[in-house]
């Protein structure tokens, strides 16, 4: 009984870790490139997040299944191959079902291959743990990443156009800050967000 309780709590912890304690963007500083590039609006950020969840889930499952067969020196090659395969599949799905988004995201979809989050989770979690833990870890990390992305995108979209999802949220007198949708806005918003997270985390500790 205690054993199973301990197990559940461990799963629960893994699940929550990705959202805050080990949030891939804010705490681990992983996967910065898509974080900055696709957060000009919420829609592409959400699409990107879903792609990352899909790839992370699939690659974690495969890596965790193969973990006992992996040769140490071929490990990274194997991870890369797995990730590249699922990214290609995700890209094909995007092109087929949401062509608009696929065009908007452009090269950032294939760039998921070199997103450090995925290879880091494959190395740190999936290659050591059984499948269930790996799946939970993938979900938690993926959701944490997506939520962060959408949050940043929300701020930037609101300030740069005054709208989110086509819904006007700002009063008419608001002058859109065009700079927020440009690279400048991305860097500065993320920098300030990280500062904010540091303050909050510092208070908790």
């Amino acid at each position: 009984m205690t054993n199973s309780n301990a197990k559940t709590s461990r799963y629960g912890q893994t699940l929550l870790a990705g959202l805050w304690r080990e949030n891939p963007v804010f705490r681990l500083l992983l996967g910065m490139c898509p974080t900055l590039a696709v957060t000009a609006a919420v829609k592409p950020a959400l699409t990107m997040g879903c792609c990352v969840i899909f790839v992370l889930l699939c690659s974690n499952i495969i890596v965790s299944l193969m973990r006992n067969l992996l040769k140490p020196h071929l490990r990274i090659l194997m991870f890369t191959l797995t990730i590249a395969t699922f990214v290609t599949i995700a890209d094909l799905f995007l092109k087929a079902f949401v062509p608009r988004m696929s065009e908007m995201l452009g090269p950032y979809v294939p760039l998921i291959i070199v997103n450090c989050i995925i290879i880091c989770r494959a190395e740190a979690c999936a290659s050591k743990n059984p499948m269930l833990v790996s799946v939970i870890d993938a979900l938690s990390m993926g959701v944490g990443f997506t939520v962060t992305l959408c949050f940043l995108a929300g701020i930037r979209e609101l300030l740069s156009t005054g709208k989110i999802f086509e819904a006007q949220l700002m009063p008419d007198a608001f002058v859109p800050w065009a700079a927020m949708s440009m690279p400048v806005g991305a860097f500065i918003t993320l920098g300030l967000m990280l500062g904010l997270v540091n303050i909050v985390a510092g208070k908790k500790a």
């Binding site: 910065m32 191959l81 090269p107 760039l111 690279p183 400048v184 500065i188 920098g191 500062g195």
Partner: protein, 196 residues
């Protein structure tokens, strides 16, 4: 003359106007990681320049000679990443054999280059833009490397001075680096419109 001017424009455009770090957000991870000291940053920049030139050229060749001919474009991403991993491995072995001292100084950077998004990003950009001459692809990839080196060195110089500045506690480290990068990106926006 005509080709020369096209090449020159492409080069300047990728180095300053469309700098990979400041306008396309590529290669941010190492940019945040190793831009602490200027000599390390320069080493990383050189290593990246070398690998990006090599893999940009190789992927262009593979794309045009192999994949498009056999309409296997769907496997493009896998081929590209394998080429990059291979190129990095090759550079590592070559350096270890012939320039051991240089190899020592690059240290951990070399294997890390594989997961540098600037490299895969550039290969994808070349294939997306439909560059159809080998020379242009070579010049573009070399320019991308130079642009990356420049960005990372500027940043390292600023960060060395930033250590002496009074930065609020919560912004120390990555946050202030990102904000500085934002200001730099704004400065680089001034180059837009230079290339006609």
């Amino acid at each position: 003359m005509d080709t020369l001017s096209i090449l020159l424009m492409g080069f300047i455009s990728i180095v300053v106007v469309n700098n990979l770090v400041f306008t396309k957000f590529l290669g941010i991870c190492p940019y945040l990681g190793v831009s602490g000291r200027i000599d390390m940053a320069f080493g990383m920049g050189l290593a990246v320049t070398f690998v990006v030139t090599l893999s940009g050229t190789l992927t262009w060749l593979i794309d045009h000679l192999l994949l498009i001919g056999t309409s296997l474009e769907v496997t493009r991403y896998i081929c590209f990443i394998l080429v990059i991993a291979g190129a990095v491995q090759l550079v590592e072995m070559y350096l270890r054999k012939f320039f051991p001292s240089l190899y020592e100084s690059f240290g951990i950077f070399l294997p890390l280059i594989t997961t540098n998004c600037a490299i895969l990003g550039l290969c994808l950009l070349i294939s997306l833009e439909g560059i159809n001459s080998l020379l242009e692809a070579v010049v573009l990839s070399f320019g991308a490397g130079i642009g990356f080196t420049m960005a990372i060195c500027i940043m390292a110089g600023i960060r060395e001075n930033l250590d002496l500045a009074d930065v609020p506690d919560c912004l120390k480290g990555a946050p202030i680096t990102l904000i500085t990068a934002g200001l730099l990106a704004m400065a680089f926006m001034g180059f837009a419109g230079m290339i006609r």
